[in-house]
Amino acid sequence: MSVVLYGWGFFKEKSRARPDSFNFITYRSGPAPKQQRPFYEESFITPDGADGKKPIQVHVASLAELANGMLAAVWYGGVYEGSGDTRIFLSTREPGKERWSPPSPIMGRERASRQLGRYIKKVGNPLIFARENRLLLLFVTVSVGGWSGSSLNIAVSHDRGISWTPARRLTLSPFLNVSTLCRNNPLPLSNGAFAVPIYHECLGSFSEMLWLTPKNREGDVFTYCKNRMTRGKAYIQPTVAALGTGKAIVVYRNFDDNRTMKVAFSTDFGQTWSPPQATNLPNPNSGLNALPLSDNRILLAFNDSQINRENLSLATSSSSVSIDDSSGGFGKTDVFKWNRIAKIEDHQGEEFSYPYLLRTQDNRIHLVYTWRRQRIKLVSFNEAWLNSKAASSAVAPEEAP
């Protein structure tokens, strides 16, 4: 009987669809940048607090687009980061409209406690993404301790964020299932699954890839597995840009002594990753986000400083990124030199952080970020605007250190 039980378990695991069987869905073609008129627009998603309500700190925003073009943004807000009153808020914008809906709380510690059937101390780090007309929400809960005690949970909405399935806990670490967090954009796969870059932050600090595969027709129950991207104690919050068949580049938030941004690549559908290599861009131990452009250059939103988050800038790789199959490296592509394109924010003593980029069906690129910890700001532009900024930029590519 034991042989039967073990054999059944072994073959059940072996027969599970392996993530490397399925391709990343990459950039969708649209009007070429040369045919676009430059577009740039700034706005705020969250209200300014002038309505007299008690101000709260807001942080860690992410953005998703449904198949009908509706945008959905989530973030967390509370008296201070990680306070017990922190809740996750959702705001949506219908296609063709300019105004965002008033922020609606969709998850807090009490609701998470009820749904997960256990004590929850705080919630945070919401990550929203979409598949057709489903919204998926990954978020962090902490029962004991600080953010190093985080566990990941998932909920799904089939009605544009009005209601959500009960949160389900994901078991991603054998050590009390703690210290796993999410931040940056999941990559949709051709089989309906997602590759979600996550990270572990406890004794070690390293990045991993979480593979979420829906196992029912509604797409709200998942099987999952993960694999390691880095080792050590310095690389978290990976942001991954898919480049083509099984190839991708990752940029890491890095808090080692060098305080420079580091990149790595994969040629096997994200199963293995090269060791991180330094770029010419700084990283003040802060969040960053990457997005592939139509010509396979990589757009980066980041804090252009080694010591603070007082500015938020955009940069692109110096050329189109190609990964050499034969050598398994970047080949002739130099991803270690990046061109600074534009400075979105720059104000001494203030914080502009945790950028999140999303390309929508109308080929616009949207950047959401924490604005002074008071509001979530949205900057929308297109590649024509990026190219015009690059052409007018007086900043020359810098040599790698």
């Binding site: 009987m1 034991s2 042989v3 039980l5 073990y6 054999g7 059944w8 378990g9 072994f10 695991e13 072996k14 392996r18 406690s113 009820r114 059937g117 256990r118 004590y119 929850i120 029962s143 004991v144 806990r169 078991t171 670490s173 054998p174 050590f175 009390l176 299932n177 572990h200 406890c202 004794l203 070690g204 600090s205 390293f206 991993e208 099987t223 999952y224 597995c225 993960k226 694999n227 390691r228 880095t230 080792r231 050590g232 104690k233």
Partner: protein, 196 residues
């Protein structure tokens, strides 16, 4: 209400029952017999089902660790039975094996899972698939040696197929941090019997 949710009450129940037994014994009270065991068990169950802020008390332990391993659960059950009815599931040989297993499994799993090196046995496909083969071989070996810990391992794989824990990972059925620490302490104490 899933099987894992219902099963999650078992470990806190066994733990509280065992703690009550130990407390009574420390006060010079007897803990054996059907009536006493029923009263202790009933009292433990009632305490654990009482909701605090809408959550049963037992589930507060789950907030610390949702996946207590099957070997630790069986060891705890063995302790409760021993003091209640003087019945042993695990003999000295199988207890010794459980300690060695807990320490070895923990050493193989936790340092790597927490970031030591680049191989994560918790998720690396080849290592994870090998886990079923190795544990199957160990189970058969222990059963042939008439070691009752082999039956505990069968309980692990059966629980895995019944989804009795929140985790879908077989490692969580085999070992947890508390089992690892208890096994380590048990092994170290066994090696130093003469220290004060």
């Amino acid at each position: 209400m899933t099987a894992a949710y219902l099963f999650s009450f078992l470990f806190p129940f066994l733990l509280l029952t065992r703690l009550v037994q130990l407390a009574l014994r420390s006060m010079g009270q007897q803990t054996g017999g059907r009536l006493r065991t029923f009263v202790i068990a009933a009292a433990s169950a009632i305490v654990l089902l009482v909701p605090i802020k809408g959550i049963p008390t037992a589930r507060y332990l789950i907030a610390l660790n949702a996946d207590f391993s099957i070997p630790l659960t069986v060891i705890l059950f063995d302790g409760v039975l021993r003091h209640a009815f003087h019945v042993r599931i695990l003999n000295a040989k199988s207890i010794g094996t459980s300690r060695i297993f807990g320490v070895v499994a923990g050493l193989l799993l936790y340092p790597a899972a927490l970031g030591l090196g680049s191989l994560d046995p918790f998720s690396a496909v080849r290592v994870y698939n090998l886990l079923f083969i190795v544990t199957a071989g160990l189970t058969i070996f222990l059963l042939l040696k008439k070691n009752r810990f082999g039956i505990v391992l069968i309980a692990c794989i059966a629980a895995y197929h019944l989804h009795l824990l929140e985790s879908p990972n077989f490692w969580n059925y085999l070992v947890d941090p508390f089992y690892f620490i208890a096994a380590l302490v048990g092994l170290l104490r066994r090696k130093r019997p003469n220290e004060a």
